[in-house]
Point group: C2
Chain length 397, copies 2
DNA sequence: TTACAGTTAGTTAACCTTACTTACCAATCA
DNA sequence: TGATTGGTAAGTAAGGTTAACTAACTGTAA
C-alpha cells in the first residue's frame, strides 16, 4: 500500500522563500542579462540561495538563461546571463467604456499582442458579461493561445467598484448596481479576474507605461463627461475609505457660485463636473443666444478657441480656470511628483497647458510636473497591470 | 580563555523570527491577559514557537506574566496570563510651538508621566537645541528615570521637515533653514530621535489616542495662524513627494477672488490661510471702519458671533464657508473615514459645526465623520508616537 | 605552444536558525 | 479517575549561510 504524504499546511516558513524568490525575479525583470553571481551580490543573498531560486524559476518558465559570449576581462568562467521571460504568460486587459468595450491581450512586459472591441450600448443588459467572456475567448484562440496561458484578466469599469469583493456598486452608464462582475467573469473564464474603477485603471496604466513611470507619488486626472482622479501613493493605488478617493467632480472652486447658484442633487455629478466636464462646456456655448442653433461638442469649442473665436475662448478659459484651481487643490493636498492629464478633452489641451501651469506657479510653492498623456491604450494597459498589482503571485509588484 | 562568539550577520533567517516576535508582542498589546495557548491559536503559530518567543520577551522585559486564579470551567491547567509591560521603557514627546516648547515623558501606552515647557522666543537662536536637550535631561532625572530607559524622542516642528534625513528644511517661526535637528539632538541625548512637521504629529496623536483611533484613513486639520492638514492613509502618515502633502493653506476656494484680488507671493502663506487663518479673521474685523480701534483676536470674534453680533457673525460665516469648501475638496480627494478639526480656533467651533456638516452633506455623497479634537496634549502624544511608528524596533507599529 | 597563476561563476557539503509536529507532563474540574 | 486545557521536550523539515570545491576563462612568461 502506498502512503501518500499529506503536505503540511504551508505556513510562514514558506514566506521567506517566496519573498526572496520575488526579489530575485523582480531584479531580473529590472536588470536583464545579469548572472547568478550579480544577483547574489546585488540582493545580498548567498550564491547557493540565488542558484537554487534561479533553478526553480527556470523550471517554472519565468526566466531563460543563455551562456555569455565572453568572460570578464580579468579572467574567470563565462557567466550564464539570465533574462525575464516576458511571454511566460499573457494578460488580458478590458476597458468597459460608455461607447466601446475594448479588450486586449498583452505579455507580462505590457507589450500589446492583439486588440478587439464591441459596442457597449448594443450589448448592455443582454448577456453583457457573457459577451465579454466570449470576446476574450475568441481573442485568445485567434492568437493561438491556450486559456491556461492566461495569467489573469483585469477590468476597468466606469463606476464605483468594491475592489475587495469584486462587486460593481454603481455604474450608471451600464445601469449596474451591485453586480458581482469579478466572480461572474471568473467562473466564465476560469482565471483570476480583478476589477477597478476606470480612472484608477488609467492611472495604473500611466504609472506602468506613461509619463508617471518613475513617480511613486503621482496623480492622473481624466477629463471627459465628468472629471475624475486616480491617485498613486507610494507606488500603490489609493482608493479611499469607501472606494471614493479621487472623486474630484465634487470639488468646489468657486464658493459664491456654489453657495448661491449650485443646488444640484447628486447623480454622480458634482460642482466641478458641471464646470469643466465636456458637456458643460458645450452647454455653456448653447446658452449664448447667438449660437443657440448649433450642436456643440467640447472638442469643437476648443478648436474654435484656438482659431480665435472670442466667445469660445472665454468659455474655455473659464473652464480651464476652474481646472487650474482644482489642480492647485489636489496638488496642495497630495503633493505628487507628477500630474498627468488624460481623457477625451485632454488632447485638445496642449495649446492651453502653459496657461494652466502659470496659474499653478502663481499659487503653489512646490514644483510639480504637469503633463498630458501620450500613451496609447492607457486604460487597457492599466487594466492588465491590475493583475500584476493585485493578484497574489510571484510576479506581484 | 573565554571565546566570545561573533554573532553571524543577522541576515534574512532572522526576519521571520522578528516578524513573529512583533506579531506576538502586538497581540499582547491589544489583548492583555491572554495565555501562550490563546496567542498560538489566534496567530496560527505553534505552541512551542509562541512559548519560545514569550520567554524571550519576558527576558527582555517587554511583557510580564502572572499565574491565573482559575482554570477553564472545562478543567485543565491554569494558564499564565501575559501582560504588556507599559513601563518597559519611556518615550519623550516634544512639541516646538511658536510660543512654547512643550516636553513630556510618557510610557509605551501613551500615558503621560510628566510635562514641562519653556518659552520659544526667549531661547530661539541661543543654544536652542542644547536647551531642549537640557530640559529633557532634567525631566528624566526629576522622574527618577535613567537615560537608558528612554526608548526614543519624537519632535514636532512648525515647518517643513525632511523626515528621512532628519533635517528641518524651513521653519520661519524659528528662523531655521536646513537645521539637522535629528542628528544634533541624537548626539546630545544619545537615544533615537525622530522629527516631523507639527501638523503630522498632531494627526498621529489623534490617530493614536483621539477620535481617529480606529480610522486607518483619517485626516486632521489644524486651524491656527494658518491651516494645515495631516493625512493618515492605511494607518501610515502620508507626507507627499517632497514633504509638502497636506499644505492646504494653498487651496483656492474662490476662483474669482483668487483670479482678481489675490496676488500674494508666498512666505508659507496661501489663499486659504488668508481666508480662514486666525489673523485673517481678526484682520477682516479691523477693516470695518466702525470697529477699527479694537484689538481683535479670532477667539474674540467667535465669541461675539455666538453672542449675536452681526458683523462678527458675517465674518465668521464667511470664513467657515471657505473652510467648508476646503473640507469638501479634501474629502472628495482623500475619502477619509473621519476628519478631525484641531488647533487654536477649533475650540471655538463647536457652535458652528452643524452649519459646516450641512454644507458638506449638500455637496458630497459620501459619509464622513467630522469631529473636533477632544484630546489633551495631542501634539505631545503624537510626537511620542512618532518613535513607535518610525523607529525600527520590536515595537514598531 | 604550453604551463600556470590569477579570477570569476557556479555547485556541493556541512551547519545554523527557525518553526513545525508529535508526544508528553502538569494541573485542574467534575 | 477521566476529560480537558496549558505548557514543554524531542525530533524533523525547510531555508538560509559559510567554506571549500570544481569549472572555465584570461593573460603572461618560459
Amino acid at each position: 500500500m502506498k502512503i501518500i504524504a499529506i503536505r503540511s499546511v504551508p505556513t510562514d516558513s514558506n514566506l521567506l522563500k517566496l519573498l526572496n524568490k520575488r526579489k530575485v525575479l523582480h531584479y531580473i525583470q529590472r536588470k536583464d542579462g545579469h548572472s547568478r553571481s550579480d544577483i547574489a551580490k546585488a540582493l545580498k543573498l548567498s550564491k547557493p540561495t540565488v542558484s537554487n531560486i534561479v533553478d526553480e524559476l527556470l523550471e517554472e518558465g519565468w526566466i531563460r538563461e543563455k551562456e555569455s559570449e565572453r568572460a570578464s576581462s580579468a579572467g574567470g568562467r563565462k557567466p550564464f546571463q539570465i533574462f525575464f521571460n516576458e511571454n511566460a504568460a499573457y494578460i488580458v486587459g478590458i476597458d468597459i467604456g460608455g461607447t466601446l468595450v475594448e479588450i486586449a491581450i498583452m505579455n507580462l512586459a505590457g507589450k500589446l499582442i492583439s486588440k478587439t472591441a464591441f459596442s457597449t450600448q448594443k450589448h448592455v443588459g443582454n448577456n453583457f458579461i457573457q459577451t465579454i467572456a466570449n470576446y476574450v475567448n475568441t481573442l485568445t484562440e485567434q492568437n493561438g493561445l491556450e486559456s491556461s496561458q492566461l495569467f489573469g484578466v483585469g477590468v476597468g469599469v466606469p463606476g464605483i467598484t468594491d475592489v475587495d469583493s469584486g462587486i460593481v456598486i454603481d455604474a450608471p452608464s451600464l445601469s449596474w448596481k451591485n453586480v458581482p462582475l469579478q466572480s461572474q467573469l471568473e467562473s466564465l473564464l476560469s482565471c483570476p479576474v480583478y476589477i477597478d474603477n476606470d480612472v484608477n485603471v488609467a492611472a495604473l496604466g500611466e504609472y506602468w507605461k506613461g509619463a508617471g513611470r518613475k513617480n511613486n507619488n503621482m496623480i492622473m486626472i481624466t477629463l471627459g463627461t465628468g472629471i475624475g482622479c486616480g491617485i498613486i501613493i507610494n507606488g500603490q493605488l489609493y482608493r479611499g475609505a469607501s472606494y471614493a478617493a479621487g472623486e474630484i467632480g465634487y470639488m468646489v472652486t468657486d464658493k459664491d457660485a456654489a453657495d448661491k447658484k449650485y443646488e444640484q442633487t447628486f447623480s454622480g455629478y458634482g460642482f466641478l463636473d458641471s464646470h469643466v466636464g465636456g458637456p458643460s462646456i458645450a452647454k455653456r456655448m448653447l446658452n449664448h443666444a447667438e449660437k443657440r442653433e448649433e450642436k456643440w461638442t467640447a472638442k469643437k469649442v476648443f478648436q474654435m478657441a484656438i482659431d480665435g473665436d472670442q466667445l469660445a475662448l472665454d468659455t474655455i478659459n473659464d473652464s480651464l480656470s476652474h481646472l487650474s484651481f482644482a489642480l492647485i487643490n489636489v496638488i496642495s493636498i497630495i503633493n505628487p511628483e507628477r500630474v498627468v492629464l488624460g481623457g477625451g478633452i485632454s488632447k485638445s489641451m496642449h495649446h492651453f497647458l502653459p496657461h494652466i501651469t502659470s496659474t499653478l506657479e502663481k499659487h503653489l510653492p512646490v514644483q510639480t510636473d504637469i503633463t498630458i498623456t501620450t500613451v496609447e491604450d492607457v486604460s487597457l494597459l492599466g487594466a492588465g497591470y491590475l493583475i500584476l498589482k493585485e493578484h497574489e503571485s510571484i510576479l506581484k509588484v
